[in-house]
């Protein structure tokens, strides 16, 4: 509700016709609670500029833990002024309040004049609804003539708890200074974070890259002092128009090499929409691991670094699930013998059980094929459709049974694998699924290729 609406006495619960009567020029939009929630969430991210601990509070509020942050804006007054100014730039007029308890701050913002809560007694004239009790309790308090927080404070606490439940007594205790349960911040604050604020927004990619380089340098210096390396990083770019772009990426090996980190982000910055510019950039190491200082060595270690760099760069471009390393799996079923691990996850080494009968490439979806074969278990003599050709040589069969202990294999049939060479020289890996004499006739499939 902005000031103009308040002046016209518009508000929630009003009938549309009444609202139109009060203000004929009113534009009406249907409520979109989900879109509002999303907007509030992004606004919360935007608020991380003042404090790392921010959370969405109810459907229409944000809560910031500014402990130890206010001095950066010249004290609490300065902080509130900065908040008001920044929101005004976005065209928003929030009601802000600052108090030592969240409940008190909410009460002061919603039912009081807002600003810094001067002292706890100042809450006394506020209505009992400020205690955020359920509607029934508030209504019965009002019936008893207890209209303000001050009225409740004067009564013995034990009697109130007996009559109206523990919640009321606890809320009152919080206003007296008792501990509140902690809140879960939207983003976990990190120990390692570097920030760069610009009065003049950065609107070019070159500028962002330069900022990124500087942040990476600062962050890496911090990491080096702590003897740690980053595994996961988040770059938050706060745009002038209030949108916050969060770029997140991981590294294959813990790293504190600013150039490397910069290069990883450079790919991600490529297509980024900068709008009217970025006024604040924050680079955080969300996940770090112990990483002792190492001397640059020749040989194996240098190779390992180069490999990690390459994997990181590919993963940053394409996503970690597209840069893969194979891990052997103890299974006879060809489709299950390889697990492709995302890059950065070190595959478990193990023996590869292999023979000449293993093809070079495997079709992820076996290709059904019509074949002419000797009954009951001979190799195919001719493939007809969709791959056609006379078979000039075949090795096999290699019978592979389904893994019956798996639910997915319960109905699977045994397969006989053949390596067949066609008359044009192509070599394929074919399998007959099922046996003659079963109610279902066998099916031939091409599973892989040797050339």
């Amino acid at each position: 509700m902005n000031a103009e609406a308040e002046a016209l006495r518009l508000g929630p619960g009003l009938l549309l016709t009444d609202a139109r009567a009060a203000c004929p020029a009113l534009h009406v939009f249907p409520a979109e609670p989900e879109a509002d929630a999303r907007a509030l969430q992004s606004l919360a991210l935007w608020c991380t500029r003042w404090s790392p601990k921010v959370a969405v509070d109810g459907p229409d509020g944000l809560v910031l833990d500014v402990t130890g942050c206010a001095h950066l804006w010249g004290g609490e007054e300065g902080l509130l002024a900065a908040v008001a100014e920044a929101f005004a730039k976005l065209g928003l007029e929030p009601r802000t309040a600052l108090a030592d308890r969240r409940l008190a701050a909410r009460a002061w913002a919603r039912f009081g004049p807002g600003g810094i809560l001067p002292d706890r007694r100042a809450l006394d004239p506020l209505p009992v609804e400020a205690l955020e009790l359920d509607g029934e309790t508030s209504a019965s308090l009002r019936r008893l003539g207890l209209r303000t927080i001050g009225d409740l404070r004067r009564l013995p606490r034990a009697a109130l708890a007996r009559r109206f439940g523990l919640a009321l007594a606890m809320r009152l205790a919080v206003l007296e200074g008792a501990e509140e349960p902690p809140f879960v911040p939207l983003v976990e604050p990190t120990r390692f974070s570097a920030r760069l604020a610009r009065a003049e927004p950065i609107a070019t990619h070159a500028g962002i890259e330069a900022a990124c380089a500087r942040l990476a340098r600062d962050l890496c210096r911090m990491l080096e002092r702590a003897g740690r390396g980053a595994r996961r990083l988040v770059l938050g770019l706060h745009r002038v128009d209030g949108v916050v772009a969060r770029l997140e990426l991981g590294t294959a090996r813990p790293s504190r090499d600013p150039e490397h980190l910069c290069r990883l982000f450079r790919h991600r910055l490529d297509g980024l929409e900068l709008g009217f510019g970025v006024e604040l950039a924050i680079l955080e190491a969300v996940e770090t691991v112990e990483c002792p200082a190492e001397q640059p060595e020749l040989g194996a270690a240098a190779d390992a670094t180069a490999i990690a760099l390459l994997i990181d760069r590919l993963a940053a471009r394409l996503g970690a699930d597209r840069v893969l390393r194979p891990e052997p799996v103890a299974s006879h079923v060809p489709e299950r013998r390889v697990r492709w691990c995302p890059a950065g996850v070190e595959p478990r080494p193990g023996p590869w059980v292999a023979s000449r009968l293993c093809p070079l490439r495997l079709f992820e979806r076996p290709l059904p094929v019509r074949a002419l074969a000797l009954v009951p278990d001979g190799p195919p003599l001719k493939l007809e459709e969709p791959i056609a050709g006379r078979v000039v040589a075949a090795s096999g069969p290699e019978r592979i049974l389904p893994e019956w202990w798996r639910a997915t294999d319960a109905a699977a049939r045994p397969r006989d694998f053949f390596r067949v060479r066609l008359e044009d020289g192509r070599e394929l890996w074919c399998a007959r699924e099922g046996l003659w004499g079963e109610p279902e006739p066998p099916v031939w499939r091409v599973l892989g290729s040797f050339s």
Binding site: R317, L318, R322, L324, V338, W340, L360, V392, S451
Partner: protein
Amino acid sequence: MNTAPLPADRAHRLAALRARIRALEGRGTGFATPPVRLGPGLDPLLGEDGLARCALHELAGPAATLFGLAIARAALDRPGLFVWCLDEAGVRARGIPWPPGLAARGLDPGRLLLVRAPDAQATARAMEEALASPAAAVVLGELARIGFDLSRRLQLAVERGGGIGLLLRSAADPTPSAAATRWWAEPVPAREGPPRLRLELRRSKSGAEGQVEVRVDERTLALRPAAALADPEAAAPPPTDRRTLARG
């Protein structure tokens, strides 16, 4: 710095000068990278020079994968990753590389890094990235279409990285490219014995052209001249007994 007198003939002088420039620029190791020797099977075509590293090679034809892996196996004699880049269309059409099959032929799957890109453009970008890295000894990429500009970019990348670039194409492509060599590989029908390939060098920077027929050793992927004695580990001859035939 190397200040030895330059060799007299033009080709060697150019190569020596290039090596010096590389050393001045700080890339490469300062000495010429030894080429990949593909063995007696291809010596009639490539001679002592082998297949150049720091260069891009185009392989096309129905047996391009097998030939590419034979080159990769020979080029992996030095440390580094074997990066295989392909896109989803390639996985569907030709299948995904299968580590047990590679292991059976002496290629260590532990060195394989598979890049499964969503499309050809991403494959090309991933290839460029991998070629430019000193961590990759071999980069094998599957791209159906490639313009001259892209091939030039890949060539420049591989010069920075120092590995060998193999470009796998399913069909022949007459458009010019910056690749050092262009090959056509197709299987030779043979009733028995190890797979045989007909390798045709269609174009190369050194001017060599021609074709050879080789046998592929199934355990090492070594290429041997086809004329040599039959391999003892021959595939079983096709069954000759006349039993009931059935279509399935």
